[in-house]
């Protein structure tokens, strides 16, 4: 079953074309890695995909979209603003309640971030900020993950832990990754982007790191 599809789309920045025309379909239960040089058009493609999948999609852009003045708790809590009444949301904005605090605390524990739950996002390191955004994505109710370089600021063991958490939570996902090994290890299919076009589209188990070299 098709979870998400783009048909013959293009994107331009001013007069310069940056993407397409290209078509891409994602099946339910499929995990796709987007690979390619920076500037190839991966972020634009993810953003367009999210426009298609806003109702079921969980989006984690490269710039994370954190609210710097709010705590880690609040930034993660935001993933479920659609699940509660406005009063419940506002009450939690003023004072976090017990239930969401427990839920979010346990998510942050898997990300080794539990001790930062009360800190403003603006005061965290790059890696901590990235894990906060991952926390928000994990907490959010949605079926399809659209993540743009979710582990780029993390060291290797942490990157693996986060990738495991993400693929454990989302069975359908499309993730832009510049780390070829992570791409091959955690996804079923690799889509390579070059100059705004799809240059490669193969199952991961048929690829080796060397096959991806021409894309860079």
């Amino acid at each position: 079953m098709t979870a998400l599809a783009l048909d013959n789309v293009t994107a331009r920045f001013g007069d310069t074309p940056v993407l397409g025309p290209l078509s891409l379909a994602l099946k339910t239960g499929e995990r796709v890695a987007l690979v390619g040089k920076s500037g190839a058009g991966k972020s634009t493609l993810l953003s367009l995909l999210y426009d298609e999948a806003r109702e079921t999609g969980v989006y984690m852009p490269q710039d994370l979209g954190l609210v710097e003045t709010l705590s880690v708790f609040h930034n993660v809590f935001m993933g479920r603003l659609d699940q509660h009444s406005i009063w419940y949301n506002l009450a939690n904005l003023i004072h976090p309640m017990k239930r969401p605090t427990q839920d979010i605390h346990s998510i942050l524990e898997t990300l080794s971030l539990a001790d930062k739950i009360r800190e403003p996002a603006g005061e965290l390191s790059g890696g901590q900020r990235q894990r906060t955004a991952v926390g928000r994505a994990l907490y959010q109710q949605g079926r399809i993950l659209l993540a743009d370089e979710p582990v780029s600021a993390l060291d290797e063991p942490q990157a693996h832990r986060v990738m495991q958490a993400l693929v454990g939570r989302f069975e359908t996902a499309i993730i832009a990754l510049h780390d070829v090994d992570l791409a091959l290890q955690y996804t079923d299919r690799v889509v390579g982007i070059r100059d705004g076009l799809i240059a490669l589209d193969e199952p991961s188990n048929r690829l080796s790191p060397a096959d991806l070299q021409p894309l860079y």
């Binding site: 710039d63 979209g65 609210v67 709010l70 935001m78 699940q83």
Partner: protein, 490 residues
């Protein structure tokens, strides 16, 4: 260089101001202005703090009016900013902020009498209009990405409260604190028209020639504003805001009969009240227009244009005083002190003092407006000039001023100046209450004759004039491609 847009526009404004000077009434009419000035300076040197009872009450009332008024204005302005995309709301806000606090106070004092409600509403209403505009501009500028990543079905209010507002929060807070300083000045000035704030005590001390008391009041007022960052702590603000309403004083009891009469009879144009209908209205309006509005508008415009250019010249001369490219830290401290005094003294207070010294003419008004506004712009430009990197072999002195610094700070300087154009005009109209024949003079006259319907028409005309200048200023800034952060506006 003289052919550039900014230079041509500047020269045009200078030329207009020179022509205005020909028509302006500029003179020193007192017998011995220097003796008056000497007595005032003497008052500063021998301040008399012994009238402590009065002083305490004056400051308590000034603070309570300011806190209550600004807090109400901020809350109302915040809610208005949520719906600021509506044209109706934008026009409404432009209208209520085009009317000066003192005009609002004059209106409310006719209805409620000398009651705290008059003063608090007079501050809250125009401030709400300003807050609505600036809050919406600040929130508009925050990063939209965090709102985009929220779950799709998140409601509007939750979206707002969790992303746009927290992101804009630091700027909102800085701006609100800055407006509180403006609120303190407004509150102090309300005393000049009879409310129990500092202005009231200042006027009575002045009129009785108690210069030592004047000195004490002014020194304390400067201290209050200069030390704001010590006592205005974020944690203490809720305390101040909740406490302020209890220190407003009782005032005179409100006569509800007066309130009803004010809204249903007093402000209704006389021909309508007396059943003459629309036919009677036309000659009535023509009469106001020819005998009061037109001379008032003419003088307001002349004074505004002269004051605008004088402000600009003063700011350009003053900013090096606090710029690290010209003076060392010690001299800069002196410059800061001068500019703080210039910008913390409300125009109205300065104009009042200068009128006592020099006698009635446009001169005290021009100098007062230029000192206050020039102080503000000089401060902003000076601070900005400090951020200019200077090459080690750059020229020094006047060459550095003319070749390195002024060309770089001129565009933002003009932006600040055009931002303040409308504010200068609002203030010019008000100075009429002191006897200079701008629009405020005729408003005050109509109120004294208890012809409130006429006063309302004149206030309405003043508001429209301000809105007109605001639009013109925005056009000119767009034409010159000038940009500034909204926090520098007022």
């Amino acid at each position: 260089m003289l052919a550039s847009r900014t230079a041509r526009t500047s020269l045009l404004f200078v030329a207009v101001a020179l022509v205005c000077l020909v028509f302006a009434d500029i003179a020193v009419t007192t017998q011995n202005p220097w003796a008056e000035l000497r007595r005032l300076m003497g008052g500063f040197l021998t301040p008399d703090f012994t009238a402590v009872d009065d002083l305490g009450t004056a400051f308590l009332r000034t603070l309570s009016y300011a806190f209550t008024g600004v807090a109400l204005g901020a809350v109302a302005g915040f809610f208005l900013s949520l719906v600021f995309s509506s044209r109706l709301v934008r026009t409404f806000c432009a209208f209520i902020r085009a009317i000066h606090e003192i005009f609002w106070a004059l209106i409310f004092m006719q209805a409620f009498g000398i009651h705290p409600l008059s003063g608090v509403l007079a501050i809250a209403i125009p401030f709400a209009g300003i807050f609505a505009k600036v809050y919406s501009e600040i929130i508009e500028e925050s990063d939209p990405l965090s709102a985009r990543v929220l779950p799709w079905r998140t409601g509007r209010l939750a979206r707002y409260c969790f992303t746009r507002i927290p992101e804009a929060w630091p700027h909102l807070r800085t701006y609100t604190a800055y407006r509180l300083e403006c609120g303190l000045r407004s509150s102090a000035v309300l005393g000049f028209i009879g409310l129990p704030t500092i202005g009231f005590y200042l006027e009575s001390a002045f009129s009785q020639g108690y210069y030592s008391q004047v000195g004490a009041l002014l020194i304390l007022f400067y201290l209050l504003i200069a030390t704001m960052r010590f006592w205005l702590r974020p944690r203490l603000i809720p305390l101040y805001v909740l406490g302020a309403p209890f220190f407003l004083g009782d005032g005179l009891p409100i006569m509800w009969g007066n309130v009803t009469r004010f809204f249903t009879q007093d402000i209704v144009p006389r021909p309508l009240r007396e059943g003459e209908g629309w036919e009677g209205l036309q000659p009535w309006l023509m009469d106001i227009l020819t005998t009061e509005a037109l001379p008032g508008i003419w003088n307001t415009l002349i004074l505004t244009q002269i004051a605008l250019v004088a402000t600009g010249i003063l700011a350009l001369l003053a900013f090096p005083l606090i710029s690290p490219h010209f003076f060392g830290p010690k001299r800069r401290a002196g410059g800061h002190l001068l500019l703080v005094i210039a910008r913390s003294t409300p125009e109205y207070m300065l104009a009042y003092i200068l009128l006592q010294l020099w006698g009635p003419s446009m001169l005290p008004a021009v100098v007062a407006l230029a000192l206050h506004n020039g102080g503000i712009i000089g401060h902003l430009v000076g601070r900005m000039s400090g951020e200019i990197p200077m090459r080690p072999n750059a020229p020094v002195g006047i060459n550095r001023y003319a070749y390195e610094v002024v060309p770089r700070v001129y565009p933002p300087f003009l932006a600040f100046l055009f931002y303040r154009w409308e504010i200068i005009m609002r203030e010019t109209a008000i100075l009429g209450i002191l006897g200079i024949t701008t629009l405020g003079f005729y408003v005050e006259g109509a109120i004294q004759e208890i012809r409130l319907d006429r006063a309302m028409v004149l206030i309405l005309i003043t508001a429209l004039l301000n809105i007109g200048v605001d639009i013109l200023s925005r056009r000119i800034r767009a034409y010159l491609r000038l940009k500034t952060r909204p926090t520098c506006e007022a």
